[in-house]
Amino acid sequence: MRALTQRIAAAQDRAAGPAGRLPWQRLWRSDAWVVTSWVAMAALTAFWSDAGEVGATGLLAACMAIVGAAALGVTIANLFFNLPTAVLGGSRLVALALVLGLWELVTAKLDLLPRPFFATPQSLIEVYVDDWQRLGECTLRSLMLLVTGYVVGAALGFISGVAIGWSRAIGYWVHPVLRFIGPLPATAWLPLAFFAFPSSWSAGVFLIALATGFPVTVLTWSGVASVTPAYYDVARTLGASPAFLILKVAIPAAMPSVFVGLFMGLGGSFAVLVVAEMMGVKAGLGWYLNWAQGWAAYPNMYAALILMALMCSGLITLLFFLRDRLLSWQRGLLRW
């Protein structure tokens, strides 16, 4: 009997967790590790002497210290506001600090890796500080070109996909063209596009639209074609017109498939964007990459790569966000 009471008490204690205790007892170990790791890496960067001229070491150390201080602030706030879990989520932030520290160590401090190819973290920071105007402009240009081409390609692909899926006559004529031209990589059109279009920008829009349009067309078509016939029967007995059948039955039913096409098209458009900017378009992140490589400015290249990764990942996140809003009726949706 006493053993049982003890066990219940222990279980209650565990269930209550750190929340029921004094502030200093509520310290989450994972939060403490985040603070410690960032402060330690800041110290390592600041006080270990550099192997030569490696970039804005002080600024890097300051950035790391700011992250550490912010983490400390959150941790302390957590002690007093009694939040139920570790807010910082620990492991990933600790790992980030450690990877950054290791990178700093093998490049800037110990000089183990050949320097021009393996840039130091502080040299990237220096690029962002010195060249932010050009980088910003290039990012904007890339975004403009990508969004224009993508929207044109997605809209045309969507319309043609619905048309092919809906009308047997249109399908009869468009299908062979789609089968023949569609699988051709958009980049194969590159020489022709720069020759045929009045500006390299419009050629870029054409290529990106082409890369986006094909998957969007095929998946919209397949989505429309695979709508359960019973859905049409229901609408027809209720007095629906053909326009209603297309707009209110076929298209909503095809949307999950359309979004797969939009996702694939977005991936394809990134590839074409970079190639187009490297080959002919005189602005944008792809151009910047090429330009930096020409000057053997490796830190600039890495800086542009990181920006590009942020841009692409941001756009994919935006697309998934849109999908989650529009297809909230679907069960078991993959969360991005």
Partner: protein, 250 residues
Amino acid sequence: MEPVRLIKVAHQFELDGRPLSVLDSIDLAVGPGEFVALWGPSGCGKTTLLRLIAGLERPRAGRIVVGEREISSPDPSRILVFQDPTLYPWRTVRQNAALGLEARGLLRSQSYRIDNALRQVGLDGFDNAYPHQLSGGMAQRTALARALVNEPSVMLLDEPLANLDSLTRIEMQAELSDLWHRERFTTFLVTHDVDEALYLAGRILVLSCRPARILEEIAIDLPYPRHRGSAEFAALRQRVLAGVGLQVRW
């Protein structure tokens, strides 16, 4: 409301290039407000008969007439309710029920009909639920509401309760009977459940297997509400089953 008449209706499908006869010379007259059950083995062409009356397909031979007009296309005055509720998964219960009004541009002016229909089938309060959140019975109720919104004069019910569990089915058979008594739409119920036909219908048509012909016509003049345990009910059940030679096996 007008009577529905089928005059020497025959229909066939193409199967591997060969004609497959599904309906053979069906003659039938159903008065306004009558409840007729089409009873017979599965896959014998009962569903096809309903699709023809709905106007989703044209018969190969014969005529189907409502009043004096021959049926040539679907019309919201004749609504088909399927075995599967076939709700649109991207629409809420209310939006599904509103489909008929929306298709005819009446959504603004007549939205009170949606409230009425949802109340009739006991779904008020579920307006914003999505089909994947509904039980089988609730989904079929939504499909019924979607039909009722159009205030149809003819209801074509294609085994609407066949996919429900037996308890829900008994419950919904009673509800369907009440609904018919309130609204008095002419009803064609396709079913292979003898008790369902006997419980609901005023007349049972026993159909033969493919090509379907009317084997026998049995009038059920038991008063409503009916009880499945009564002696008359049991006698009628035997008679219907005898139509397909199953009276002993049952």
